[in-house]
């Protein structure tokens, strides 16, 4: 489709304001806590130069590299998919790597660890209670024939996929757990993340574990201590909407309990997946992976 004359590519000089030089200095008010020395957390101010695209995580790392290397902060992907950098920025549950400092419209950025989980140090909380509650709801497909044929897929229509697809985006960051009013006083409450995942697996047409999960969530500290404050969905950085899932889970418990228990899970496909079987793949896996070519 080569045209006789190609449109001249126009190169527009990009707006470099704030990209090459910092725009201003912003005070980062960071919650600090050393368990060996302090009784309770306190705030410490740091002055941080901020560019147009500086995120809160960038600011915290600037503090760590240049001002105070003792600052403890969790981060990993710095692009909003790992869920490590969950913290409370200016009173709101945010991912630090996805929060642009200038968008906060404030000269003081207050950074605090997330709520309702034990505080280990500075901005780092103990996520183990959060993960334990997730494990309690058995977040995996449960069915009798899961081991039977590993070379063929289960049949699931796009409509059946849509029922739970939204809930698979969860990155287990803990922001919903931090925002929930019930977790603020109820240490046994499963939390919005675990309950949403309970619904995600229960409604999955491939799953047959509804009875087991119902016993876990139909508990004085399970689904029924959610009062639809919606703070979890408002806080979720991935748009998972756990509040929706929890209300649907309540609906299953109230109206569809027997139907879900006797539901037949999605059947297996007749077609065996083309290509090698699982055993062959395992046999042909190399003992050592080849190393990349040496640089020239």
């Amino acid at each position: 489709m080569a045209a006789s004359e190609q449109k001249q590519l126009e190169f527009k000089v990009p707006n470099l304001e704030g990209v090459e030089k910092p725009i201003k200095n912003v005070i980062f008010r960071v919650s600090r806590f050393d368990p060996d020395r302090d009784r309770e957390p306190y705030y410490r101010d740091y002055e941080v130069p901020v560019y147009r695209f500086t995120t809160v995580l960038d600011g915290l790392l600037y503090i760590k590299y240049n001002l105070d290397p003792t600052l403890a902060v969790r981060y990993s992907c710095r692009m909003g998919v790992c869920g490590s950098c969950a913290m409370i920025v200016n009173g709101r549950e945010r991912l630090a790597c996805k929060t642009n400092v200038l968008s906060l419209n404030s000269n003081i950025v207050t950074v605090r660890p997330i709520n309702n989980l034990p505080l280990i140090r500075d901005l780092v909380t103990d996520l183990r209670p959060f993960f334990e509650k997730h494990k309690k709801v058995m977040p995996y497909i449960i069915r009798d024939d899961i081991e039977a044929h590993q070379d063929r897929e289960f049949l699931q229509s796009p409509a059946e996929l849509n029922e739970y697809m939204m809930l698979t985006d969860c990155i287990k960051c803990g922001l919903c757990y931090s925002a929930c009013p019930t977790t603020a006083t109820d240490a046994l409450f499963l939390g919005p993340q675990a309950l949403a995942q309970a619904y995600r697996y229960t409604i999955d047409s491939r799953d047959a574990g509804a009875a087991l999960r119902f016993d876990v969530v139909d508990d004085p500290h399970g689904v029924w201590r959610c009062h639809f404050a919606g703070a979890c969905s408002a806080a979720c950085p991935k748009g998972v909407d756990p509040a929706f899932a929890i209300q649907q889970l309540k609906k299953l418990l109230l109206y569809k309990r027997n139907a879900m228990k006797s539901r037949k899970p999605a059947p297996e496909s007749e077609k065996v997946r083309e290509g090698t079987s699982v055993e062959e793949v395992l046999k042909s896996m190399p003992k050592e992976w080849p190393s990349p070519p040496a640089p020239k």
């Binding site: 806590f33 368990p35 060996d36 020395r37 302090d38 009784r39 309770e40 957390p41 009173g91 709101r92 660890p113 709520n115 309702n116 989980l117 034990p118 505080l119 280990i120 909380t125 103990d126 849509n162 029922e163 739970y164 697809m165 939204m166 809930l167 985006d169 009013p181 977790t183 603020a184 006083t185 240490a187 009062h227 639809f228 404050a229 919606g230 703070a231 969905s233 408002a234 979720c236 950085p237 991935k238 748009g239 998972v240 909407d241 509040a243 929706f244 209300q247 649907q248 309540k250 609906k251 109230l254 109206y255």
Partner: protein, 161 residues
Amino acid sequence: MSAPASSGSKFPRNMRGVLGGWARVSHANFERWLYLMHRLTGLVVGLYLIAHLAETSDIVPAYLSGDENIWNNLMQSLYTPAAHAGLLIIAAFAVYHGLNGVRLFLAASGVGVGRPIRPEWPYAPVSLRSFQRSLGWLFIAVTLILTAYAFYELFVVTHFV
């Protein structure tokens, strides 16, 4: 500070509690406000029920002794603007709690919370922009209207205003 005795005690539990948790109003979304009001109104009206049962049982000594005035005098002593203001608050709270309860029951039955979507940035969760939100506003309006009617009955009809 000296070394702490056990590792459990030196890491604060960091639970927000009632004031920072249930009652957190900073950056609270609409449904969170409704939840807080639901708790408050339920608590107040529930306590009022106990007081009300005690108050209305005072008709029994009036009946047993055949003396109407025990009851009528009690009613007269409560026929004050202050007592009626209290009753107005109870009425408003009870209406709000009942109507919001209907909304919560509908939500727990899967009505008004929308259908699952494929999230696109900026992620606006479907449950927070579905029918239940309009229902919330509608019920607040109905609560105000019925409170106005209660005000009419408690203050205008009784010529306190």
